[in-house]
Amino acid sequence: MQRWPVLLFLAWAGSLFFCGIGLFTSGFLLMRIELTNRSSCADPLGAPAWAGQGPAPGACWLPRRVPKAVLLIIDALTFDFARFDPAKDRPRPYENKLGFLHQLSSSQPRHARLYRFRADPPTTTMQRIKGITTGSLPTFIDVGSNFASYAIQEDNLLSQLVQNGRRVVFMGDDTWDGLFPQKFFRSYFFPSFNVKDLHTVDDGILQHLYPTVDGGEWDLLIAHFLGVDHCGHKHGPDHPEMAKKLTQMNEMLRSLVDHLGNDTLLLVAGDHGMTETGDHGGDSEKEVNAALFVYSKRPLFGARLPEEPETVPQVNLVPTLALLLGVPIPYSSIGEVMAELFSGDGDAASAALRQLSAYHVNARQVDRFLHSYSLAAQDLPAPRLRHLRGLFSAAVEEHAQLLGRVREGGPPSPELQARLGRLVGRFQHYLREARAVCMESWARFHPLRMVAGCALIAASCLLCCLASELAALDFPYRRRLLYPLLWGLAGAALLGLGHLLAREGLDLLLVASGGAAASQLGFFWHLGGRRPLPARGAGVRPPGPSAGLWQRLALPMGALLLRCGAMFSDSFVVAEARVAPFLLASLAVLLVGRLLWRGQLAALEAPRQHKKSWQVLCLLAALLACLRLSSLFHQCREETPLCQPSPLLAPLAGLPSAQAKNLSYLLCVASLAGLVYALRRWLRHCGNLNGSGPLVLFVRWAFPLLALCVACYWAVASGAEDTLGKLQEPVQAALEGFPRAAYGLACLGLLLALWEPLTVFVPDGREAAGAIVTPYQRAPSSQADLLHVIPQIYRRMQESLKSQLDGGERGAPVAAYGLGSVYSAALLVVLTLLGFLLLLLHSERLSLAFLLLFLEAFVLLRLHAWVGRLAGDAEPFVVPWDAVTSWALAATQFFYSTGHQPVFPAIHWNAAFVGFQQGHSSHLVPALLVGANTFTSYILFAVGCPLLLLWPFVCEAPSSPRRRLKEELCEEEPMMEMRLRESPERFSAALLQLGLKYLFVLGMQLLACVGAAMVLRRHLMVWKVFAPKFLFEALGFVVSSVCLLLGISLVLRVDCALSAWFQRLRPR
């Protein structure tokens, strides 16, 4: 029996996938660390005062220049919408509709100006709101302290305003409510979800806008109109509806300006543009080209009017607005102030000095941010940072010098003026460079890495598929494993050396993926080198291999392909909770239908066969019922507003009525007890519960104890709110103690299962020794001798089992109980232990879902065993593809049916505090707990995967004693799992093949996710649907493959222990 090569090969195949995932992730998921620092007025960044300006009252960093501001965000206001071209004689529906803006800027050029407002991709509304308020570039993962809500954790304009006592009033899109909970002085939110609804939000705003403006109880008023965006989504820009909507906006602006006071600044901005079809989200020119319009009744600008409107990056709004309103710039802003707005009245020199002080503050703030960021993360390239630092210090030095000269007094000379102008240029240069550096590392995909990662995963899938087909034949591990590994090592070493020689930093990920690719090449090279002769496999293969192959593969591969195809549509990803059970049900029905079609289901001649057919039909019905029931435990995601999350997901503590609470609690405890009872019943049925081995004792005594711990924990947790003050302390202790006891017991059980996994019982040494009749007088020394002994032991065991079941006399010689199901028994014990452990992390009523999970897995195993038997598969050592595919589908289905969804807000964060009420000191334990909670079904199904191989053998056992009596005794005894031990080579090959098949099915799903994320990276839903789905699927794959390895190694450990056990029998 080759144990280590099997494990090594599987680990190698898994790590190939890991490299692919890592490579793809590094190209696709751009990360940015969120800093928690906040700016405050006390920060020593304020500009040094220059002559003629004392510290103004209420000044913070810079004196407040604008007492009030109105920020109107018209969603998807493209620059083309805002521009007015009187020369156009036949404007399209969206052109020349905002005539009022043009009227203002042409009649009052010093009061109003239109800009191109350049949005940074991703151009989705939420990311843009983040950009407009934090002044940073949001990427998909802004690694912050909290994933659970969308609320902005970073320092931002609104929190600065609130911190400094300003009143912010908001009306419009309710996305802001999620982003800034409790920040507004007053707010009027309107639902934004229905894209077809053009008017609710706009009409709601118009109803409140003018009264609020006139009321004057605000310092910053934000109104976010959605009509234009929704009109774009519904009709596209080129539609009469758009003309109507824009005309409405024009009228709104006209009357709003009448209501504004003299000291109010008006900003009209689009958060992003739209394409020809009215969509947005990507980075095409039309999508990033929004409009910004600035107006004030006091003159703002110099007299010079630029020919073509200037382009302003969107992040520039934040420092500008902050300094104008006299609050600190948010800490992480990387924007540049719009200097024109700071020039004010007066001569050119004083205007330049005012601009310079704004720039100076701005540059110091950006420098401070870059410094803190480079301490927290390494993703900004160090040489560029050094270069920036140089620019910054030179500019600041020069600024100080110039200020000194200005303080000395004297009329500003033209030379000084020129130097001031140059200094403005240097500050601008610095700020733009800094923004460019940040953008390069945060907001750009690496297509090459993405493609390479995708290719690596695809090649690994191919490798798994090929190797699993070859594993049934002769499988020379040296050629298949050792050489590729050597190739991989050589490739990695070469790549690493190349890196070192090129004096670049050693990128571990690149080196690892290079090694992975090289080892794959090695595998395929040695595959093509010499085809092994199918010496042993030829006899067993069906006569028409290609037709047989097609028939074997059509169903499971069809289901798998459909599932993979579904990953490419956002609707199907959102509805995956229904897609997976649908496919699983279809697969099972088709399997049974195929039996019927081939006439294998209802062989009417034999009445016994008839009974089997009924059993298969009952199993199918049970499977369908399980599938349907499991959908009761669904969680909802944001995209389906009509969906109601299942009430069963809420913890019991939240139930208002005591009676309902008690009833549900009893139900949960009953399901716990049911789980324990079912396991013990099954083990007793197989004869594994006799004897006094440590694992048997554990199952007998510790399992009820474990269930008791869980039940007690639930009782305390669900009643914790009602307890009196005095009992607070013991309750807290219990809340910590019970789960920890359960953890401890479960870990003890797992260790026991590893240390002594045998559940075989030999009642009495002498009697047993006498019972085994060996044809050898001496002890069997070789493997072949042992092989002779095993069946005999087994037969004895069978007889004894039968006599016990008959309840007859105990005279029959007894050798060993439970030998026939020794592998599956250990796996079942471990699975149940894991089930308890994971159950503890979920809310109470999900125990019913766990019960369903175990039931469905059981039904699936039995169904496949029966189907395999009825179909008369010649090869019991090969697990058919349908079984593996349905196993993987069931894992996906129960991911959803344990109340999860592949989005961050749906993660059960409570799991981190089970047994750790006071929080954690490290990040590892909570991450483990939450991860275990999230990937529960993946863990259980992956560990249980070897059962697919074992179950057909277990099912050979007589299911009832009566049937056994009827059968002739001379009929060959069922050997159950000992048949696996009889041919150890084929056993190890079968395990390897099963593992590879499971890896292949998981890998195909992963490949589909990766492909969808790559192909659809410009899709509107990429950050809401595809990217989270990819992340969850990738993590799920990692968890599954590790657990699969654990499951298989457990089987191999049992095999090891079994060998030792047979060796111990030898001396007799």
Binding site: L596, W597, R598, L624, R628
Partner: protein
């Protein structure tokens, strides 16, 4: 012999197809506000009733499996009652299977049930007409090499096409296109209908093309 048989089959199927087409064209003449999508339930009823009548009339005219024995009236009546019971059971079974496949359990029960009735009309009714209430014969027909006449073959093809059509009809439901036909059970019932019509058309053609290979065991 065989060619005339195929012609009779073709005739029967064409009548069936026309009856389905008529169910979409004729009712608007009598009923106000009728449309297949808008008043889908009424269409489901009309379609089921129409297909049932046409099938029974065709069965009476064509007698696909003529038996030599004379059958008494009482026997005929029991057979008819048995058929009714079978049909009803199949409706319930289909309803159950549809719900197990993910249809809502309590809401829109009527829709689901009418869809089940439609599916039964397309599948069970056909079987009842051709094979009679005889489960053993059904199991025989729906297995490889089990067909004993071209009628059995056509039965296989139309039944499978209807069910596969209904299965494919479930695919567009999750999509966010907001079309009226995505509402439960319209896409599925339309899929089943299209599948049935396709089956009706394919069956004679397929049998005609494979008439050389098709050899039937005598009963």
């Amino acid at each position: 012999m065989k060619d005339t048989e195929i012609k009779r089959l073709l005739f029967a199927h064409i009548v069936c197809v026309f009856s389905i087409i008529l169910t979409t064209i004729v009712p608007p003449l009598f009923l106000e506000n009728f449309s297949v999508l808008g008043t889908h339930l009424i269409w489901l009823c009309i379609c089921s009733i129409c297909v049932t009548t046409v099938n029974i009339i065709l069965y009476i005219i064509l007698k696909p499996n003529p038996s030599s024995k004379r059958i008494s009236l009482a026997h005929k009546i029991t057979k008819f009652l048995k058929c009714c019971v079978f049909f009803f059971i199949s409706c319930i079974l289909f309803h159950g299977i549809i719900v197990l496949y993910g249809a809502p359990l309590i809401e829109s029960v009527l829709e689901t049930f009418l869809f089940a009735v439609l599916l039964s009309t397309f599948t069970t009714l056909h079987c009842l007409c051709i094979l009679g209430p005889n489960i053993q014969a059904w199991i025989r027909v729906f297995s490889k090499n089990g067909a004993m006449s071209i009628w059995d073959n056509s039965l296989q093809i139309t039944t499978m096409c209807s069910i596969v059509g209904a299965w494919f009809g479930a695919f567009p439901i999750p999509l966010d296109w907001d079309r009226p036909w995505q509402i439960w059970p319209i896409s599925c019932s339309l899929g089943a209908t299209f599948g049935y019509v396709a089956g009706l058309i394919i069956a004679p053609l397929w049998i005609y093309w494979n008439r050389k290979q098709l050899t039937y065991k005598s009963r």
